[in-house]
Symmetry: C2
Subunit: 334 residues, 2 copies
Amino acid sequence: MRLPPARLRNLSVALLEKRGVPADSARLQANLLLEAELRGLPSHGLQRLPLLLSRLDKGLANPTTRGNGTWRRASFLSVDGERGLGPVVMMDAMRVTRRILKETGLAIAAIRNANHMGMLAYYAEAAARDGLIGIVMSTSEALVHPFGGTQALIGTNPVAIGIPAAGHPFVLDLATSIVSMGKINNHAMRGLAIPPGWAVDRDGRATTDPHAAQAGAIAPFGDAKGYGLGLAIELLVAALAGSNLAPDVNGTLDDIHPANKGDLLILIDPSAGAGSIPALAAYLDRLRLSRPLDPTQPVAIPGDGARARRAAAAKTGIELPQPLFDHLTALEAA
Amino acid sequence: MRLPPARLRNLSVALLEKRGVPADSARLQANLLLEAELRGLPSHGLQRLPLLLSRLDKGLANPTTRGNGTWRRASFLSVDGERGLGPVVMMDAMRVTRRILKETGLAIAAIRNANHMGMLAYYAEAAARDGLIGIVMSTSEALVHPFGGTQALIGTNPVAIGIPAAGHPFVLDLATSIVSMGKINNHAMRGLAIPPGWAVDRDGRATTDPHAAQAGAIAPFGDAKGYGLGLAIELLVAALAGSNLAPDVNGTLDDIHPANKGDLLILIDPSAGAGSIPALAAYLDRLRLSRPLDPTQPVAIPGDGARARRAAAAKTGIELPQPLFDHLTALEAA
């Protein structure tokens, strides 16, 4: 069913506030989920809300904390998320780190013990719209096998990079898995085979059966290179945040365990650099106008597609599965 | 022909010293090229030396400068490479930035006007062996087409990441193109077709003809994700180093123009973080020992393959094309 964003936003805020989340934090968490829906990323949208509400009910998510940051060095903020909501802890870390950029030019916040960050593009874009370069990385439960391997030992380890450009910012957001487990779940639900190369089954054999893939492991994107990148993110986050490595991560897909993955935010003030932001914008426009492989598909810059989908959905509404909407309205009435 | 590394090292040092390069800088530049040969990366090895010598002869490379760094902010070093040799400028930037890590926890050096950096793994590994996390990025001439595009508008934009781990460090080094132009040149030389998906010709049509590819554009690795990553590196380097964007880059493949690409070095002191380096090492060993897809091919960690090839070549010698060796010895005799 198709619903107006405002209805879903108010519903989400109300459900969060009922569990003790302050109004501004509830709006932020709801906004993050809504933005994912608007951009056509339902795996990071409202289907995450029931789990989050259950985590609040069970004390696995703390409704009020913004996390507790300690400056371990002049440019290095170490954050104990104190089981706070992911976006609340991350945006507070951004608020704190951005203050020192005039002095240091760059800063890092290394976050442990925060709940799921959701769509990382949200934070990278927030930084870029503020005139800053933002690089965000997260780890996750072990879902990805090494290149040449068969066992799920690495997280999906997304990275997002936001760079200001006159006009629209550059906003890259990619998981280092070839596909999300959400998409494999979706194929299973709809009874569709998955393409070869996406996954192996629990015995490490290549499979196109989404159910077998759910019990197995997802491939890294881009063969050895994407594997290396995902593994680098795994190590960087664990080394700096003091979070768990993938085989010992829990708490972003369940309502049983505390969330013990980690998250990094690197902020850079481009005004400390020697380059020109308008020159970046002109270059990106040159790419957009360059000759496409398929004449009907212009060359896109990361962030363009999400922006177009967002603009369309803001007008036409958000498509939500009826059972999810029913579940949320039942929780509202409870 | 197969030659002892010491012979090639002495030859390279002598050729550089003859052109006014001080002994320590000549050893560093020669070592970088030798390390590439030892690791089986001849595209970044001694075949680069004749061009570099010509650049020194023509004043496009300055034999003596180490670059001129200015602290624009407490953690942000802006470096004018002053046409210096790439490894000399980079290693000096590392020496300067590492000094402030005890205070700041992380630092960035943004470098413009330096000559070709060569194999970035060299610097990432140097940082990791020093107990630091090192992230290195470079831009290049426009050789790569956007995902869904056809024109060479983006550099091959490599990134290297070195992370200390008890035992062997993690050393990732990848170009964001699906393959190097060096490899395409090699196919052309040997009269071999290139695999589908590597490149398009000058009219933007998919090709398996290496000669057509030389005049066209290379694909990014990993489809849209690898494209996004390569483009992010393009923008980050230009914004922070003040270097040129790919379509206006020259000087790493010719001996006509100054080198106007850019390079970034990010150093992080993991002792500022909350994680455990021994835990990383144990995790990497778990990956190495995990079940491989092909029982004869154990799962490898980035850096493992290069280390094994290096150990073998150190014993058996470096395989160099006879014409290249003849050219270098002729220069030595000149």
